[in-house]
Symmetry: C2
Subunit: 296 residues, 2 copies
């Protein structure tokens, strides 16, 4: 059978709780007349009195009290559900990024991001393991890779370029003119990014004569290079800050490009079914605009 209007039931609930139409009306931001009318109609519909007057108080009858209790429960359920949905949509927006990318590219732009994007609750999580968007409470991942992961949406921010970097004083101590000169200096290498990729592209087929340190962490490798230990093969996105701030320099950037495009890009990754989708898309658009020149 048809349910009475919901507003009517909430009026009953508030009135039963307050034992007063007037106080219920104040809680509901209506006049006492509205509450009175609602309850009168409900009593007519149910065919029974729900309140009896006791002096200036309106006390619910047993029937009214029981019904009000049910309505209280239902309201709590609704409130819990809506709060949960609101939290899902309005809770913090978590971005997961590698420590290297966070340190090398992101942090220098965070201030402008905060200024230009209306996003009140952004959390940056720097972690080197690859976060799982479905289970780790992460809304956005900034990932290196081919840009094809199952079940997620991907926007490519930048195509990575590779070039050697070292500290300025290292460059003074070791005069490097052309790619071939690198074969005789300490080469810092990342386990996922062999020097041969770059040397081959530069037309150097020989193998380095010095076995340098190996790293699993790009940020640490660049830090080491900045301390004058050797030459590292850097990705454009990660070294940008160190270059700009002078901790690293590019050996023969003036004489030749010294860069080689690699297939891997830097991607902005999210789930299309995220409850925070609208906020994610605003952020994505900002990132795409920010990296507009880096995808050629």
């Amino acid at each position: 059978m048809r349910l009475p209007p919901f507003l009517t039931l909430t009026a009953l609930e508030a009135a039963a709780r307050h034992r007063s139409y007037s106080r219920a009306a104040r809680e509901l931001f209506v006049t006492h007349g509205a509450v009175s009318q609602q309850i009168r109609k409900l009593e007519d519909e149910l065919g029974t009195k729900l309140f009896v007057r006791q002096g200036n108080a309106m006390v619910p009858t047993a029937t009214g009290q029981r019904l009000a209790g049910h309505v209280t429960d239902a309201l709590a359920t609704l409130r819990a559900g809506v709060d949960e949905a609101r939290l899902a949509a309005n809770g913090p927006l978590v971005i997961s990024s590698s420590a290297a990318f966070a340190r090398g590219w992101l942090v220098t732009r965070l201030e402008r991001l905060a200024r230009e994007v209306d996003e009140p609750d952004l959390i940056l999580r720097a972690e080197d393991r690859v976060a799982d968007l479905t289970t780790d409470g992460v809304d956005i991942a900034l990932r290196f890779g081919l840009g094809a992961w199952p079940g997620v949406e991907v926007a490519t921010l930048m195509i990575e370029r590779l070039f050697p970097v070292c500290s300025p004083d290292f460059l003074v101590r070791h005069p490097i003119r052309e790619p071939r000169d690198l074969l005789d200096v300490p080469l810092l290498r990342h386990v996922g990014l062999p020097w041969s990729m770059w040397l081959t592209a530069m037309g150097v087929d020989e193998v380095p004569r010095q076995q340098g340190l190996g790293f699993e962490d790009t940020a640490l490798m660049l830090d080491t290079a900045a301390h004058g230990v050797g030459v590292a093969l850097a990705r454009s996105g990660l070294a940008e800050r160190d270059l700009r701030e002078g901790r690293l320099v590019r050996p023969f950037a003036d004489t030749m490009g010294g860069e080689v495009a690699v297939e891997t890009g830097n991607h902005f990754v999210w789930r299309a079914d995220s409850p925070k989708l609208a906020r994610i898309l605003k952020l994505r658009d900002w990132f795409l605009a920010e990296t507009a020149g880096l995808r050629g």
Copy 2:
């Protein structure tokens, strides 16, 4: 925080259940446009999508599904509460009466009652123990007594009168002219209504010379009298039908009144806080009209 409009939430719930705005709209007896608008507004308010299109179906997102589940629960709670209230107010109206009164007075009027009072679900419960209006599921009790019980409302229907009755053939076999003659015939007695009450009022101070049968059940006593076993002391309300239908007669009704008013009346008893109050009052008014001449 403020709850979204309830209609909006029910639209969400129905749409999630049907995986279709159109089917939801049909269930809610509105157009698909109404559902579409409601859900669009809710998505705006929560800041997240609640449905995604899949071909011709609208499937709820995880957030939409969870919220819909909560709304389903809340609706079930509301429905249960309202049904309970409706049942309390519209369930069967139970009248408890003694078997004697039911048989002797009530049954002959039930047909007219059914015709004249709009009461679709009346249950007559004949039981000799005194029903408890608060716990026995009884809405109305027809009780003999002083008419003062705690916590209940009372309307007095009739003032009882006492008079002797016997079967017509008994009267032929035992010529009874005056009250004193009863001292020599078998007197059937009810345990709660001694003959002395009536004899004393008639100016007869002697005790009956024959000890007759004793009864706890008035109806059984009158039945026994109707079979010619003896003379019973009857209450007006209970013997009326047997008198009218000729099974019992009043020995000296023609020569003298032969009646004596007793204090106990026959009352219509109910609880003022009954959820069925409106129906009870209609019935009370009918009973009062029916017994209008019996309270002098």
